[in-house]
Amino acid sequence: MVNLRVLFVLGSGGHTARGIILSNQIKVEKYFMVPWESEVTKRKVGKNYFSVISPRFRAKDNRFMTVLRTLFLFLHSLMILLYLHPNIVISTGSGLTIPPFLVARFLGIKTIYIESPSRVYYPSLAGKMLIGKTSMWLSSWPELAERYEGVEYRGMIF
């Protein structure tokens, strides 16, 4: 496993906390994608991170800026993935997830999406869009896996 290269897509708050717990479980070459505005996340990760623009700034943003930021994140994700060429991209479900995951799929890189424990019955918007488009889509609760085709339940990380 040591020769594997894994990119973790983080976010803020709980998404980041779970991503870091997961990254500590495995001995591989680890890299992180973090939102540039989250100083806390950068401090927690310390090194090997790529700071990227988030598609949305919570509720304050207008739609045009969100589209622009999303496009930028697609390009930035393409650059990062071409440069890094990881074996696997893992996300704990933050708002950054869709662009790097779709780019990874395009490049034939494996992806693992891990939905937040806060989603018991319904997936998040990002999660829903990615059902069927990842190598693995894991829910934190059996309820969610029962309701959606392509969703697997293996247990929870918190």
Binding site: G14, V28, K110, P117, S118, R119, S140, G155, M156, F158
Partner: protein, 152 residues
């Protein structure tokens, strides 16, 4: 001690102000420590911190924990059977928090305070309520990766 935490994503000044006022008017007589994040409201009657690398020592010391509806905070505490009161932060995106909160409330793992005005009452409830600890199944990322690499 009562520990109040707003988490790292966004501050929740209204909650901090409410608790601070309740302590000021002595409706809450316990010591209170609050983690206020980037909040603009500075409490006058209670101790506070902004952020900490880990809140575990505060959780451990607290008799009652008041938190936002963040899944991480909830899981960290319900798995240890601690006295937890959760209250929604209206500024946090989503509105899906009811899913995990409903599930945990049904199981008797937490007290859900639906209105900030009822927080003193929720504290009273939490004092006498028995909280059962929640034991979720956990997975190993290493095994999942091995499986994925083998699957080609």
């Amino acid at each position: 001690m009562i520990f109040v935490t707003v988490g790292t994503s966004l501050p929740h000044d209204r909650l901090i102000m409410k608790i601070d006022n309740l302590v000021g008017e002595e409706s809450i007589k316990e010591d209170v420590v609050a983690q206020i994040g980037a909040g603009k409201y500075i409490p006058k009657n209670i101790d506070y911190i902004r952020f900490a690398p880990s809140l575990e020592e505060y959780y451990h010391r607290a008799d009652i924990i008041i938190s936002n509806c963040g899944a991480g905070t909830i899981m960290e505490n319900v798995t240890k059977g601690r006295k937890l009161i959760v209250i929604q932060n209206p500024d946090v995106t989503g509105g899906h928090e009811w899913e995990i909160v409903t599930k945990m409330e049904k199981g008797g793992h937490l007290v859900w305070c639906k209105n900030i005005e009822d927080i003193a009452e929720a504290i009273q409830t939490a004092k006498t309520k028995k909280f059962s600890s929640f034991k979720p199944k956990q997975f190993s990322l290493g095994e999942i990766i091995k499986e994925l690499i083998a699957s080609k």
